[in-house]
Symmetry: C2
Subunit: 312 residues, 2 copies
């Protein structure tokens, strides 16, 4: 395939950037891939395993002459990076990010982007519980959504070119405004993660039930929570701090809803519980029909993973 | 294998009983398998697909002359079934159940069990979101826990014989008292299920986010919740009504914990969030080490299922 970008600069060399590098190289989507990571060890590994052609000690050096700059650092670090690289961006270059929240990234990055440089905020709905330069793999984005939140008046050709890149890596693309993105993700990802973290914490503190029991019998539903709750603490801290309003909104709705069910249990209102549990089945069917839960092999799960669904 | 029981009577012919029938038949663990289901259609199907050798219109007829009686009906139906079959139980027979709560089953069933019949409450930690006589399969219990809550003074030989049966079906056995069982399951299964149901309900009611968006972008954590929330409403209604005290106890701890995290988000206390999320990783590691989450293929999930762990 003819390269879509001449030089791509990856700022941050973790799971997402590393997977992009491998996928771009396999497909020949970039003529040259350079990178920067704060840690010298990460830079050393990235070079050693051939993730990038060259690494730089500073983000400023890495972006010089690049046609595409990918900000793949925690959301909380975006502002400082944007400020550092701004003076070194090549006219006509495109800057994108892979942050899990978009409004905060727009406010942190956009003010620093010079005239003539295209800033196209993005968010690939992909990841694993692993991190670091060795955690990437080429198929991470295959059949996954890559959401873009272009600013009003953004250059259509620049957007199409970037969408073409991620589609060539196997991703499906969609556009939505930053505020809506943050609300959708608060519902589908951020709040579920917080709840999973909470439930795992409860089990951890409960002394009448030994940890070995929690672990041993976790197949019965709890395991899914621990899987969700195993992901990167820094990334998630930033997600909740940076998408505060939407998460607090959804959390409020969640606790209201939970209290209604809790009351039904206390009052022994079986009909209410039955009706509620019946409604939730429909969404599950919708997800299967939407192809979000398919039959390809899944790494790290046993056949019994599907069984816990109905376990008591 | 020489049969462990001569005649086994299955009361209720759904996923668990059906899987037991197939596994027992494959291994030759019972000389004859008979059954009863309330629905004529279920009885017809069970006979047609060879799940049982004979079906009976009443539980009373089904248990006559049986050496092992398995109560595989919703927990809420146990008392009525126990009362019906009691006069027809053969002296020396063993009665067990597969209910998800144990204290309620003991109070519902034990008073009806006549002198000379062994009642050994049990709970296989296995299931799928499917139900009905066609949903069973022989490997459902393989490498899964089957918990038993024998009453004080229960006959050791009868317990060992029943444990031998489920172990021959591939299950691992453990004994604990009914109250402790109910607390452990409230933590590892019941409360996580209620929370999952709640989160799915929240998404369902949120009109600013379309259902198609919830479905489309559900891979980012929410999907696990819908999978949990897809299971049988009748079974779960009974679980929450019958394990009320333990579930309300754990729910109370959960909301306390959640409010602390919610406050940290509102106050922007990143250190608190980071420390909390770091602690939850340890339990996840423990589960992997305990072999509760292994690498065998998992039906119905895509490779991306593992990815949502760290998605934002």
């Amino acid at each position: 395939m003819t390269p879509i970008y001449d030089r791509v600069a990856l700022i941050g060399l973790g799971l997402i950037a590393g997977s992009m590098a491998i996928a771009m190289r396999e497909q020949g989507l970039a003529r040259e891939i350079v990178g920067h990571a704060r840690s010298a060890e990460t830079r050393r590994v990235a070079l050693e395993i051939g993730l990038v052609d060259r690494v730089f000690e500073t983000a400023a050096e890495a972006v010089a002459g690049a046609d595409l700059i990918v900000l793949a650092v925690p959301v909380g670090a975006m502002a400082a990076v944007a400020e550092e690289i701004a003076p070194h961006l090549k006219p006509g270059a495109t800057v994108t990010d892979v942050g899990s929240v978009k409004q905060a990234v727009v406010s942190a990055v956009a003010p620093h982007i010079p005239e003539g440089v295209h800033f196209i905020p993005g968010h690939p709905l992909a990841g694993t519980e692993h991190s670091g330069p060795r955690s990437g793999f080429a198929t991470l984005f295959r059949n996954r959504w890559w959401l873009f939140a272009p600013l009003p008046g953004a250059d259509e050709a620049a957007i199409r070119r970037l969408e073409g890149l991620v589609e060539a890596m196997g991703a499906k693309t969609e556009r939505m405004d930053a505020a809506h993105h943050d609300l959708v993700l608060a519902v589908t990802s951020h709040t579920p993660h917080l709840i999973a973290y909470t439930m795992v914490g409860v089990a951890d503190h409960l002394k009448r039930v030994t940890e070995s029991e929690v672990v041993q019998y976790s197949a019965a539903g709890f395991r899914d929570f621990t899987r969700i709750a195993a992901s990167d603490p820094t990334m998630w801290r930033d997600v909740f701090l940076q998408n505060k309003d939407a998460v607090l909104d959804i959390l409020g709705r969640f606790t209201e809803e939970l209290f209604v069910l809790q009351r039904a249990i206390r009052m022994g209102d079986g009909d209410h519980l039955f009706d509620y549990f019946t409604r939730t089945r429909a969404i599950r069917r919708g997800i299967i029909e939407a192809g979000q839960d398919t039959s390809a092999p899944d790494f790290g799960r046993s056949q019994t993973a599907a069984e816990q669904k109905a376990e008591g």
